[in-house]
Symmetry: C2
Subunit: 114 residues, 2 copies
C-alpha cells in the first residue's frame, strides 16, 4: 500500500477537495472516527474516488480532509448519494462548521537541495 | 523533479500546514503569484521547509496552501523570520482572511481496487 500514497502533482487529472471542520476538542477524536468510517465503508467504493487523507489539527479544534476525486462531476454525484449523505450528516452533527472547497493544484515546491 | 512530489503519509515526520485564503475573485491570480514568489524566494531555503503546494479554488474565492515542515518548531521559527514576514504581509494585504492551521496525518485511504 505504500506505493499508493496520495501524491500532490500539478497537471494531474484530479479534482481536489479540502474540507476543514471546526470542532470542540472533546469531539475531535469522534469526528476523525466518523470520517474514517465514511471513507472506508462508502466513499472509497464510489465512482471517481481517488483518495482521502484525514488530518488532526494540533490545536484540537480542527480536522481536515484532503481528498482527490477523478472530476468535479464525480464529487457532485457523491453529494447526491444517499449513503454518502447519511455519513455526511453524522459528521455534520458533531461539528461547529465545515468548509469544503474544490481546488486544482497550480504549483508545487520542494525544499532547496542542500 | 517528478520523484519529489509531495506525498501524504501517516507517520511521516512532518508537520502539515493547511492555510485557506479567502479572496475576491479578481485578486485570486495575484494571490497565487505572491504565494509562489514567497515560496520560491524565501520559504524553500528556510530550515525545516519540506514542501508547499498552491491550490486554486474552482469557485474563484479561495486559494489553499498545503505545506509540510520538518516540525512545528521549524514552522514557528519561519513565522519570526523578517523576510518571511514581509512576504506574508504582502499576501495578507490581498485577502479577506486566511486560516492557517497545523495538522498531523492520522489516516490515508485509497480507492478500492477494481
Amino acid at each position: 500500500m505504500e506505493a499508493m500514497a496520495t501524491r500532490i502533482e500539478r497537471g494531474s487529472a484530479v479534482c481536489t477537495l479540502i474540507n476543514v471542520f471546526t470542532v470542540a476538542p472533546e469531539r475531535q477524536g469522534e469526528l476523525v472516527k466518523v470520517l474514517e468510517e465514511a471513507t472506508e465503508q462508502v466513499m472509497r467504493y464510489l465512482p471517481g474516488f481517488v483518495s482521502a487523507n484525514i488530518h488532526r489539527g494540533l490545536d484540537g479544534t480542527r480536522v481536515a480532509n484532503y481528498a482527490q476525486w477523478a472530476s468535479r462531476e464525480h464529487f457532485e454525484a457523491m453529494l447526491r448519494n444517499p449513503r454518502a449523505q447519511e455519513h455526511m450528516r453524522a459528521a455534520a452533527a458533531l461539528v461547529e462548521k465545515f468548509e469544503p472547497h474544490l481546488y486544482e493544484v497550480v504549483s508545487t515546491h520542494q525544499r532547496s537541495a542542500p
